[in-house]
Amino acid sequence: MRYFENGKLRLVPDGTRIPFMRGRIAGLVVSAILSLASVVLFFHPGLNYGIDFQGGIVMEVRTPGPADFPGLRAILAVQEVGQASLQQFGSPQDVLIRLPRQPGDDAAQQRAIDRVRGALARDVEGAQVRRVEAVGASVSQELFQGGMMALGLSMLAMLAYIWFRFEWQFGVGAIVTLILDVTKTIGFYVIADFQFNLSSVAAVLTIIGFSVNDKVVVYDRMRENLRKYKTMPLRDVIDLSINETLARTIGTSLTVFLAALPLALFGGEALREFSVVTLFGIVIGASSSIFIAAPILLFLGENRLRRGSEPVSVPGPGGARSGKVGN
């Protein structure tokens, strides 16, 4: 393998002929297991919903010196604001205080904020409340419904779009892949113990967008090759198309990865979870184009997209290439 050619970086050598479809069963099985495990994780221990979807209070506090966690816990414990959870947030001076949604009405939330603010001002010298977020019961419910609606509708929109632009097998392949992608992302949220908030919905939608984008490119090439090589078996058309677009798939995933990486490293605590999940999703999306979306298409389209496509071993992708069809 040569990684440089004419002085330029080539991550994927020209004319690869990797028989991806040979590993289709393995790819699907691994993906199915991961997604199934994610679904299990989703129910137990369950997703860590943030205040957007569960209601509650988040306060970011900066203390003059390194934060005294036991001291802060003791101060909060006597405020009658429920089980407070404390967490270092970026620097050792910064503390994130999470309070559960207060029983009673929305006014109870405000009273809890007042109490904590008062206690901090009294007992922790120089403490500075840098951010307060409080979401009440009705609003969190509405935000949750809105977020789920956005996720559901975007799935439907993707299905409709790909269905419209390609044959239905492509649409089904894409949507099944997306469901597998999304479940894995949810599983990642549980394992990493990240908060699932409105910004998580944005992250999941970004991942879906990126993943579909990738599928469209690969599918586009498959459709082109189906027309170009009229007699090539579907399996070989798919392998050829994946190989032809491999350089692009990896290149684009890499650039988006490179763009999102600094957000995770320097973007601050507020963006860290969002960007880490996006990075995870880029990897998932790129690999699912190859290992999931294509095999599903092969299963669905075996006898429909191309008649009589028994796996023929002789005209491999390279062989077909030499018989170039000009246009």
Binding site: L11, R130, A150, G267
Partner: protein, 532 residues
């Protein structure tokens, strides 16, 4: 594909130049912006500049209760005027109605006709109107007055609009704090105030109804815990002086209403140095106040604010000038806060904060610098990769990426959109996505060269074939972001906006602009082999 007419060339360059010019107002102070330039800039979101985002809910139950109480009062008056005998007049807020029973069921129709004057017509589109009250008399003499759905909606609209006006006068009396108040849904108000603020003070200003009324006291009643007040009297808590709490027997009848105030200012009592609030009545209030004080010299009267007695002084002499003073353990801050509340007027119903997001200005500044560092590093990494992977064509793409960023910022300025921290993330992600188009094109061109095409025909084929794919993949992203914008709030909507604009402008920069650069380069050099 690889030829550009002179007009087209200039048009493309013109768009780029226009983008650069539109970004200018963001960089220079407002005064330095030339007059011919639209004064449109990007707004920084609250998470970047600090500020408060408060979603307020108007207590509709209180609105209904108040309306039903007014109806009950009016019914009492009408029945007295008409000499109708009745029993059990009561408001039932849960059922949104007022009920009573006629002694003589035969008077039903006459009573319904008499009460019909109480209804107010509500205009419901197309010039039609429905009454806000439904009045019915049952054969057994039971009369019900029910608030209709249309009446309720109209009440909610009125209450929300009135609240918006009053909250604006309270939190932004001079209009200099850029407070924004928008109705959301049926009975909510979104209040955003940017900049360094004391969120607690704002919440106090918003959370107080500030309904001030003047009442006489019932000196015969002895308020004690567990004792029911006599009819027409209520026991209200208040400051009994020196920090002690007292219970006052306050007559329900409102002698003068706070709505009749024309001004209120914080001041200091010249003798004691104590903080007080000086108020002035309007003409109606002055007349009523003079009358009450003239008839009740030597008796105490109470100033009640939101069901709490602030002070209950004894009237020493008639007050005819329409001026008064409220004293009662104020600090400088609490006195001026009360003055602001009284000047702005009472809210029609209590407001509750159902969602709060406040960010300190310092945290916002930290977020901006973190965002800028990320964008800079991200650009460097992406451009570095493109240069290493595609050489000259990679540099063309890099120029396009920078122009893409410039045009996105220009569009954000033109739309006066709000840039949030997630929005900055979106900016960076759209950079990563926009080079996708160039990667597609370059890979395609490389493939065509391998297939034996001449440089020119490989370029032509690369651009033509890649375009459909680029269009497809960008459209899917745009659909996503439209949904996110529709369902997301605040910062998240900002993410959707920057990604969408970034993707839209990349359709121009990554294809049109790069193609122009490539074409010019090709015509100048006429290379025998492409540097891909």
């Amino acid at each position: 594909m690889m030829t550009f007419s002179r007009l087209k060339t200039w048009l493309i360059l013109g768009v780029v130049a226009l983008g650069a010019v539109l970004c200018v107002p963001n960089l220079v102070p407002r005064a330095a912006v030339p007059e011919w330039l639209p004064l449109r800039t990007i707004n920084l979101g609250l998470d970047l500049r600090g500020g408060s985002y408060l979603l307020l809910e108007v207590d509709m139950n209180a609105v209904v209760r108040e309306r039903l109480e007014t109806i009950t009062d009016s019914v009492r008056t009408r029945m007295r005027q008409g000499n109708y005998g009745y029993t059990g007049l009561a408001a039932e807020p849960a059922a949104r109605r007022v009920v009573f029973r006629l002694r003589d069921p035969g008077q039903g129709q006459a009573v319904v006709a008499a009460l019909r004057e109480l209804t107010q017509p509500i205009t419901t589109g197309l010039g039609q109107s429905t009454p806000d009250l439904e009045i019915a008399a049952a054969p057994d003499g039971l009369v019900t007055l029910t608030l209709t759905e249309a009446g309720l909606r109209a009440k909610a609209t009125a209450a929300v609009q009135q609240s918006i006006e009053i909250v604006r006068r309270r939190v932004d009396p001079d209009g200099t704090r850029e407070a924004s108040l928008v109705r959301q849904g049926q009975n909510r108000i979104l209040l955003t105030i940017p900049g360094e603020q004391d969120p607690q003070a704002i919440k106090r200003l918003v959370g107080t109804t500030a309904k001030m009324t003047f009442h006489l006291l019932d000196e015969t009643a002895q308020p004690a815990p567990g004792v029911a007040p006599p009819p027409g009297v209520q026991f209200l808590r208040g400051d009994g002086g020196r920090g002690a709490e007292a219970i006052y027997p306050v007559r329900r009848r409102i002698e003068v209403d706070g709505a009749n105030l024309s001004d209120a200012r914080a001041g200091q009592n010249p003798q004691t140095g104590e903080w007080v609030v000086n108020f002035t009545f309007d003409s109606v209030g002055t007349r009523r106040f003079a009358e009450v004080t003239r008839n009740n010299v030597g008796r105490p009267f109470a100033i009640v604010l939101d069901d709490k007695v602030i002070t209950a002084p004894v009237i020493r002499e008639p007050i005819t000038a329409g001026r008064g003073q409220i004293s009662g353990s104020f600090t400088a801050a609490s006195a001026s806060e009360l003055a602001v509340l009284l000047r702005a007027g009472a809210l029609p119903a209590p407001l509750t904060v159902v969602e709060e997001r406040t960010v300190g200005a310092e945290l916002g500044a930290d977020a901006i610098s973190a965002g800028l560092i990320s964008v800079a590093v991200g650009l460097l990494l992406v451009c570095g990769y493109m240069a290493i992977a595609y050489g000259l064509f990679g540099w063309f793409a890099n120029v396009a990426v920078l122009v893409n960023l410039l045009l996105t910022l220009a569009l954000l300025s033109l739309l006066e959109a709000t840039l949030t921290l997630p929005g900055i993330a979106g900016l960076l992600l759209s950079v990563g996505m926009s080079v996708d188009a160039n990667i597609l094109i370059n890979e395609r061109v490389r493939e065509e060269v391998r297939n034996g095409r001449t440089p020119l025909s490989a370029l032509e084929a690369g651009y033509t074939r890649a375009f459909g794919t680029i269009l497809d993949s960008n459209l899917t992203v745009l659909i996503k972001m439209a949904l996110l914008y529709a369902f997301g709030t605040g910062p998240i909507a900002g993410f959707a906006v920057t990604v969408s604009l970034g993707v839209l402008t990349s359709m121009f920069t990554a294809t049109m602009l790069v193609r122009l650069m490539t074409a010019k380069w090709y015509r100048a050099r006429r290379p025998s082999a492409l540097p891909v």
